[in-house]
C-alpha cells in the first residue's frame, strides 16, 4: 500500500482514536476566530445590544473549558444595522482578514443568511449559525454549512395552528412584518391551516417598526378572526397591535413565535400600558432563564453573569435572544470539539458532518431533554403563556418534538 497524505491522516486518526488522546493534525493555529454580525443599530438594535454581552461571556466560558482542543477562541463582532448587505460585507471582511483561522460565523438575520448562503463555496465556506429560524435554511442539501438553533418558523406555525385547533379556534389571522423573517412561514401556514380545517381570514403585512397600528387593527376587526398569529417582530409592533386590539375591544387571542416571546419587552409594555398581554401565548424552543433547576448550563451562565455583568440588568436575567445566541454558539462549539476529538482538521466539511450528526445531546438545560440535529435544525419547543401579574412566561404545554 502506498502511503499518501490521505491514508496517512486516516491511519493517524485511527491510531489517535485508539490511544484516546485527541490531536489536531494540522499545525495548530494560536487561536480560532469566530466572526459575528449583530444589529447594534437599526430596527432591532435593542435585541442586538442585549445579545452582545453574550459573546463576552461565551469567550470566557469556552476558553475556561479549554477552547477547541486546547486552542483558545476569539470572537470578532461587528454591527450590521440589520442590513443583510452589511452582514455580507462583514463576513467577507472577516474571511479576508482572518483566513483559515476563522472556523465559524454567526449572522443576525434571515436575510443575511440567505444572502451569504450562495457565497459559502470552496475556500469561502464556513459553518454559519444565526438568530434566524428560517425554514429554507433547514436543508443540508442546499445549505450544508448553515444550521438553526431550534425549530423552523414553519414548525413553530404548525405548533401554534395545532394549538389553535385544539382550543376550538376556527378563523385565523396572520399579521407579519414586511421582512424575510416575517414572510418566511406565511405560505406554509396557509397550507397547514387548510389541512387542519382552519380558515385564514386575513394575511396582513406591516412595517417591522413604526407600523400603522390603527389600520392593521381595523383590518383585523373586520376579518372576524378569533385567533391571530404575529410573526416577524422583535421589540416593537406586536405589543402595540395587541394593545390596539384590546382598546378596540376585540376578543381575538394572540399567539407569537420565538422573537415575540421576550419577558423584558412584555414587562416593559405591562409597566407602560397595563396588563393587556394577559393570555398572550407563543412558541419558545428553550427554557426561560429563571427556570434553572434542571439546567446546569444555565446555572453556569447565571454565575458568570453575576461576575461579569454586576450592576447591569443582565446580572440576574438573560434574555431569550441571548439564550438563542448562546445555544447557537454551544452547537457550533460542540461540532468543533467533536471534529477535533475525532482527529480531523477543522474544515467546513468536517465540521458540517459532525454538526449534522449531533444526536441525543444533553445541552445542559436549553431544551426539555436530549436533542438531535435533523435537517440542520432542532425541532423542539414548548408553548408558553404570559402572566402580567408575576411577569413570567409559564409553560402551557409539554415539550414536543416536530
Amino acid at each position: 500500500m502506498t502511503m499518501n497524505r490521505r491514508s496517512f491522516l486516516a491511519t493517524t486518526a485511527a491510531a489517535t482514536a485508539v490511544i484516546g488522546t485527541p490531536m489536531i493534525l494540522r499545525a495548530q493555529p494560536k487561536e480560532y476566530v469566530l466572526g459575528a454580525s449583530l444589529p447594534l443599530t437599526g430596527p432591532f438594535a435593542t435585541a442586538g445590544q442585549l445579545v452582545a454581552p453574550a459573546f463576552a461571556m461565551a469567550t470566557k466560558l469556552f476558553n475556561d473549558e479549554g477552547g477547541v482542543a486546547g486552542v483558545p477562541i476569539r470572537f470578532v463582532t461587528e454591527d450590521s444595522g440589520y442590513v443583510p448587505q452589511n452582514a455580507l460585507n462583514n463576513y467577507q471582511r472577516a474571511l479576508a482578514s482572518e483566513g483559515k483561522n476563522m472556523i465559524g460565523y454567526f449572522a443576525d438575520s434571515t436575510g443575511a443568511m440567505k444572502l451569504i448562503a450562495p457565497e459559502l463555496k470552496g475556500e469561502n465556506a464556513r459553518i454559519m449559525g444565526s438568530t434566524s429560524f428560517a425554514s429554507e435554511l433547514a436543508n443540508p442539501e442546499t445549505h450544508p454549512y448553515q444550521y438553526l438553533s431550534g425549530p423552523t418558523y414553519q414548525s413553530q406555525f404548525d405548533i401554534l395552528l395545532q394549538n389553535i385547533k385544539n382550543e376550538g379556534g376556527q378563523k385565523v389571522a396572520f399579521i407579519f412584518s414586511n421582512t424575510e423573517f416575517g414572510r418566511d412561514p406565511i405560505e406554509h401556514g396557509r397550507k397547514t391551516a387548510e389541512a387542519l380545517g382552519l380558515e385564514v381570514v386575513l394575511e396582513e403585512s406591516t412595517k417591522a417598526e413604526g407600523a400603522d397600528i390603527p389600520t392593521h387593527v381595523t383590518k383585523l376587526a373586520q376579518s372576524g378572526a378569533d385567533h391571530c398569529i404575529l410573526q416577524g417582530y422583535v421589540t416593537g409592533v406586536w405589543p402595540q397591535l395587541i394593545g390596539g386590539a384590546r382598546q378596540f375591544g376585540l376578543p381575538v387571542k394572540f399567539k407569537g413565535t420565538f422573537w415575540g416571546m421576550e419577558k423584558l419587552i412584555a414587562d416593559r409594555i405591562t409597566a407602560e400600558a397595563g396588563p393587556f398581554l394577559a393570555g398572550y401565548e407563543g412558541v419558545m424552543p428553550y427554557r426561560y432563564f429563571y427556570d434553572r433547576e434542571e439546567a446546569p448550563r444555565y446555572q453556569q451562565y447565571a454565575e458568570l453573569s453575576k461576575q461579569m455583568f454586576a450592576g447591569t440588568p443582565l446580572e440576574n436575567y438573560m434574555s431569550t435572544w441571548a439564550i438563542q445566541t448562546m445555544c447557537g454558539l454551544e452547537i457550533a462549539m460542540k461540532a468543533f470539539r467533536d471534529t477535533a476529538e475525532a482527529g480531523l482538521e477543522l474544515t467546513p466539511d468536517n465540521i458540517a458532518e459532525k454538526l449534522a450528526g449531533i444526536s441525543d445531546w444533553d445541552t445542559g438545560g436549553f431544551f426539555g431533554g436530549p436533542v438531535s440535529m435533523e435537517n440542520n435544525a432542532i425541532g423542539t419547543g414548548r408553548v408558553y403563556g404570559y402572566n402580567p401579574e408575576d411577569g413570567l412566561f409559564t409553560p402551557k404545554s409539554d415539550w414536543f418534538t416536530v
Binding site: 445590544q49 452582545a52 454581552p53 463576552a56 476569539r74 463582532t77 454591527d79 479576508a96 450562495p118
Partner: protein
C-alpha cells in the same frame, strides 16, 4: 500648470494623455494595479473590488452631474437594472448561448437596457432643473425597486427575496474567486475612466460642458438640449448599469434593498467629496467613501479590540464621520479632493517659489 510641455501640433494638444506626467501616471497605475491583482492580500482585494464597482457608477454620475450639470438622486436604480438584467439575461440564455460567450451578450444588453431607462428618467430634465429634477430622479429609484419587488416579476427577479447570480465565464475562464473578479473590475474600471476622459474632449463632451455652464447660451449656439441632455442621462445610466453588472458578478446573490436610496446618495456623496467635473474626482471620492469606515474600524479595533461593545460604539461613529466629512467638504472645499491634489501638485511644481 505644467512646465516644459511644448506642443507643436493640434493633434498633440488634443491627446487624451496630453503630457508626460499624465502618461507616466496612467502607465504607472496600470502596472500598480497589475501587481496588486497578483500580490495584494485578500482583505485589500475585497475592499478594492468594492471601490472599483462603485467607481464605475460614480464616473457615470460625474458625466451627468459633474459635466452636464444635471442632478440625480436616483442612479442606484440603474445599478439595480444592470445587476438584475445581467442575471436575468444570463438565466434566460442558459443552454441557448454558450456559457463562455454569455457575459459578452448579457453585459452589453444590460448596459443598453440601463441606458434606455436612463433616457426615460432623463425626460423631466428637459423641463426642470436643480431640486425639482433631483426629486423627479428620486422617484425613478423608488419605482424601479418597487417593480423588482413586485410579485408579477418575481419569477424573474426573485421579488423581495433576491436572486442568486451567475459566475462570469469569459471564453471558458470562470472568474469564481474575488481576486479574478478584481482583475476584471480593474480592467473595466480603467477603461471606463479613460473613456470618460476621452468623451470630454469630443464634440459631445464639449456640448455637455456648455449645457452645464449656461444651458440657454448652449441652445443659442446650436446645441440641442433635448439630444444632449438625454444622451448624458443615457451615458451615465449605462455606466451605472455596467457597475451593476459587475456587482452581480461579484456577489453570489442580489437583493432589491441593496440598491435603495442609500446607494444613490452614496454615489453623489462620493462625487462631491472627490470633485465634480474632473476625471480623477470619482477616484478620490470612492477611495474616501470606502476607506473612511474601514480606517475607523482598524483604528478602533487597535484601540478597543473586536468586542461587541466596541462594535456598538463604532457603528454610529462611522456614520458620523461620513456625515462630518461631507459637510466639511461642502463648506471648505466644494471642489473636492481633486482641488487639494491640484494645489499640492502646483506647489511642488513651483517649489521653492510661491505656493498656491
Amino acid at each position: 500648470m505644467i512646465n516644459a510641455n511644448l506642443k507643436s501640433s493640434y493633434a498633440a494638444d488634443e491627446r487624451v494623455l496630453n503630457n508626460r506626467y499624465k502618461q507616466a501616471f496612467v502607465y504607472g497605475s496600470i502596472l500598480a494595479l497589475a501587481l496588486f491583482t497578483l500580490f495584494g492580500n485578500d482583505y485589500l482585494i475585497l475592499i478594492a473590488s468594492q471601490m472599483g464597482i462603485l467607481l464605475i457608477a460614480v464616473v457615470g454620475i460625474n458625466i451627468l452631474t459633474g459635466y452636464t450639470g444635471l442632478v440625480s438622486l436616483g442612479h442606484g436604480a440603474f445599478v439595480a437594472i444592470g445587476a438584475y438584467a445581467v442575471t436575468i439575461f444570463g438565466n434566460l440564455g442558459a443552454g441557448v448561448i454558450p456559457a463562455g460567450i454569455m457575459p459578452f451578450v448579457s453585459v452589453p444588453l444590460a448596459v443598453a437596457l440601463a441606458a434606455a431607462v436612463g433616457v426615460l428618467v432623463g425626460l423631466p430634465s428637459l423641463r426642470v432643473k436643480g431640486l425639482y429634477l433631483a426629486v423627479a430622479t428620486l422617484a425613478a429609484n423608488f419605482i424601479v425597486i418597487f417593480l423588482i419587488e413586485e410579485d408579477i416579476f418575481a419569477p424573474w427577479t426573485g421579488g423581495m427575496v433576491g436572486i442568486n447570480t451567475n459566475v462570469p465565464n469569459l471564453l471558458g475562464w470562470e472568474l469564481d474567486t474575488k481576486r479574478e473578479m478584481f482583475g476584471l473590475i480593474a480592467v473595466v474600471g480603467l477603461v471606463s475612466l479613460l473613456a470618460a476622459q476621452n468623451l470630454i474632449r469630443t464634440r459631445v463632451g464639449r456640448a455637455f460642458i456648455a449645457i452645464r455652464d449656461r444651458d440657454y447660451s448652449a441652445e443659442i449656439l446650436g446645441i440641442s438640449l433635448l439630444r444632449y441632455k438625454l444622451m448624458s442621462f443615457a451615458l451615465s445610466a449605462a455606466y451605472c448599469g455596467l457597475a451593476g453588472a459587475l456587482f452581480a458578478y461579484f456577489y453570489a446573490r442580489i437583493l432589491p434593498e441593496q440598491f435603495e436610496l442609500a446607494l444613490s446618495l452614496n454615489l453623489v456623496a462620493a462625487l462631491i467629496i472627490g470633485g465634480m467635473g474632473r476625471t480623477m474626482g470619482p477616484v478620490f471620492g470612492v477611495i474616501i467613501v470606502v476607506m473612511v469606515p474601514e480606517v475607523i474600524k482598524v483604528l478602533f479595533g487597535a484601540l478597543a479590540g473586536d468586542s461587541a461593545g466596541a462594535g456598538q460604539l463604532r457603528a454610529p461613529l462611522q456614520q458620523i464621520a461620513f456625515g462630518v466629512l461631507l459637510v466639511l467638504f461642502l463648506l471648505k472645499e466644494p471642489l473636492g479632493i481633486n482641488q487639494i491634489v491640484d494645489r499640492i501638485l502646483r506647489a511642488a511644481n513651483r517649489w521653492p517659489f510661491a505656493r498656491g
